[in-house]
């Protein structure tokens, strides 16, 4: 599970640390406060790891848009997260540092264990060296492959043979590249995709485009997981009888079979229904491989196009997901919706605001809010938010 995030010179996040993350976290804030910048940073990290080529990812149109406006030209951009692997007592902290140069960006990465010991540090570029510090002894290992994330994929065994560190590196690589499911705010899965389009069946695309492929794969490879998804779908959406997925010579498509249509497929799928399906698909895809490994689900504005009367069920379902025994899951969402926020606990909320200089800050809900507003049961957090008492509202 992620316990902490830190951003430096990343868009409006000039220097922001988010501590004490809970299994379920909701980010609230005004429009353009920086919520999406947080999600984009996680997405950026994931792509870096998945594509194993930071220079390429960085230069894919990101270069001019990721650095904080006005940041010193020599000041590095840093993305950092602390992560608690299963059965570990203390989190590991991973940092990606992007140091501006004359024309190129140099990439550095660092992995620090719970004792503050550098487990691994690496950089890209020529003469790439990876340093392994084990038991206080530094070992330099020359690699021919000059890709920064090669460090995560290669099992570099130090002379001492520290298997625990190798395992940690593997967990970290696997967690970021395979176990982060991210849906951007305007995600909207199509009902079908052509079969000649390649899509990953395990990892949802930010737009939700590969939902039909994922569902098809899920149905064929793990019926139990697919049935659980259908059950949750029925709980949230009373009109749903079941979900049918099929592939023919042209496309893979899903259809919602509706109760009122006596077993027939609905002619259309509403936006809200499709978005709920995408969220459930992203979540249950984590159960397909290594279900006992940690998984992170990040969803921007999951409440969008969902009926207000369903929001309680949605939050309760999220809470159920993160509390499942043996399935370490974490969910982060963003919202502008006070009715949605009403169902969260204060410690689950992070308020995102921008100051007069345009820099984003992120803070927790002060503890006194509970005693003053919430304990009586008369008001929810969303109600308090609308009094402007929490911050994170437009001026």
């Amino acid at each position: 599970m992620l316990t902490r995030l830190r951003f430096k010179n990343w868009r409006s996040l000039r220097d922001v640390t988010i501590d004490n993350l809970t299994p379920l976290t909701v980010f609230i804030g005004a429009n353009s406060s920086g919520k999406t910048n947080i999600v984009d940073a996680l997405s950026f990290l994931r792509r870096m790891v998945q594509q194993n080529n930071p220079q390429a990812v960085y230069f894919q149109g990101e270069r001019d848009r990721v650095r904080t406006i006005g940041a010193d030209k020599n000041d590095p951009l840093e993305l950092e997260f602390s992560f608690k692997p299963v059965n570990a007592e203390r989190p590991l902290t991973y940092t990606l540092i992007m140091q501006p140069g004359n024309k190129l960006i140099r990439f550095f990465e660092r992995l620090i264990d719970g004792d503050g010991q550098v487990v691994l540090q690496a950089s890209d570029g020529q003469g790439y060296t990876m340093s392994e510090v084990v038991g206080g002894v530094k070992e330099d290992v020359q690699l021919t492959n000059a890709l920064v994330f090669a460090s995560f994929q290669r099992a570099v065994v130090s002379p001492q043979g520290e298997e625990a560190y190798i395992e940690r590196r593997g967990q970290m690589y696997s967690f970021v590249s395979k176990r982060w499911q991210i849906l951007r705010k305007n995600f909207m899965p199509p009902t079908s995709v052509p079969i000649d389009e390649y899509h990953d069946p395990y990892s949802i695309e930010r737009s939700g485009r590969n939902v039909p492929t994922m569902l098809d794969f899920m149905q064929k490879t793990n019926r139990a997981v697919y049935d659980e998804l259908q059950s949750d779908m029925r709980w949230l959406l009373n009109h749903v009888d079941n979900l049918e997925v099929e592939t023919d010579e042209r496309e893979t498509r899903y259809d919602i079979v509706e109760k009122v249509l006596q077993g027939q497929k609905g002619p259309t799928t509403s936006t809200g229904t499709a978005r709920i399906l995408a969220m459930l698909t992203a979540y249950y895809a984590l159960d397909l491989r290594y279900p006992n490994q940690p998984g992170l689900l990040v969803i921007e504005e999951p409440d969008m196009a969902v009926h207000p009367a369903l929001l309680k069920r949605l939050v309760e379902l999220f809470r159920e997901y993160v509390n499942r025994e043996g399935y370490p899951r974490q969910i982060m969402v963003t919202t502008h919706n006070p009715q949605f926020l009403n169902w969260f606990e204060p410690e689950e909320v992070r308020v995102v605001e921008r100051d007069e200089d345009g820099d984003t800050s992120v803070h927790e809900i002060p503890t006194y809010i509970k005693g003053i507003w919430l304990d009586s049961g008369e008001y929810g957090l969303g109600d308090v938010w609308m009094t402007r008492s929490l911050g994170g509202v437009p001026e």
Binding site: W373, V384, M386, T387, R388, S389
Partner: protein
């Protein structure tokens, strides 16, 4: 950093008007607006949530800051919601926060503002005792803009002159309240 006035209002629009009046008068103070949640209820909502709003502000404000409560009080409204008005008054007294009453409605203040009246091509005057001036005011603004009433059309024209001679005593009292508040004194001293 300038001191902060934490202004509790019935409706967010009222806070925006006050913010603009302070700007127009070049009063250097940070204004933090707080309003009860919910769409309906006006004074009832305010009376119900006021203690909590004040307690929340007191939990985070600095010593130099001050709190003020602004609400409408036209005659009709005051009779109908006598209990709620008394409750607001009582809470303000107990909590020792300034109570600013707009007689009769905040729109009466706006009808006394020279800049706004110039834009509306009417003569600014004291409408403090006019019954429900908001109807007349909103109609005038709609006629001027050709659109339904929205406070955003009004704000750029406010020049803060509504507290002048022969204008609104209610605005004058409100501005005096704000000017005399401890945080303003801290700023000018």
């Amino acid at each position: 950093m300038s001191p902060t006035i934490w202004l509790i209002v019935e409706d967010e629009d009222d806070g925006l008007v006050i913010r603009q009046l302070l700007r127009a008068k070049a009063i250097k103070v940070r204004l933090q607006i707080r309003a009860p949640s919910g769409r309906t209820g006006g004074i009832s909502r305010l009376a119900r949530q006021l203690e909590r709003l004040i307690a929340t502000i007191k939990s985070s404000k600095s010593d130099e800051d001050c709190i003020a409560v602004l609400h409408d009080a036209d005659e009709q409204n005051q009779q109908r919601y006598r209990g709620e008005h008394e409750r607001v008054e009582e809470i303000c007294r107990q909590e020792m926060v300034a109570e600013i009453v707009a007689r009769d409605e905040l729109e009466a203040w706006l009808l006394a503002d020279g800049g706004l009246c110039r834009w509306l091509q009417i003569r600014p005057r004291n409408c403090d005792s006019e019954a429900q001036p908001s109807n007349r005011f909103r109609r005038l603004v709609s006629q001027k803009t050709g659109r339904s009433y929205n406070v955003r059309h009004v704000l750029p024209h406010l020049d803060g002159s509504g507290d002048g001679r022969n204008r609104s005593p209610s605005v004058r009292r409100a501005m005096k309240h704000l000017d005399n508040s401890p945080c303003m004194q801290a700023e000018t001293s």
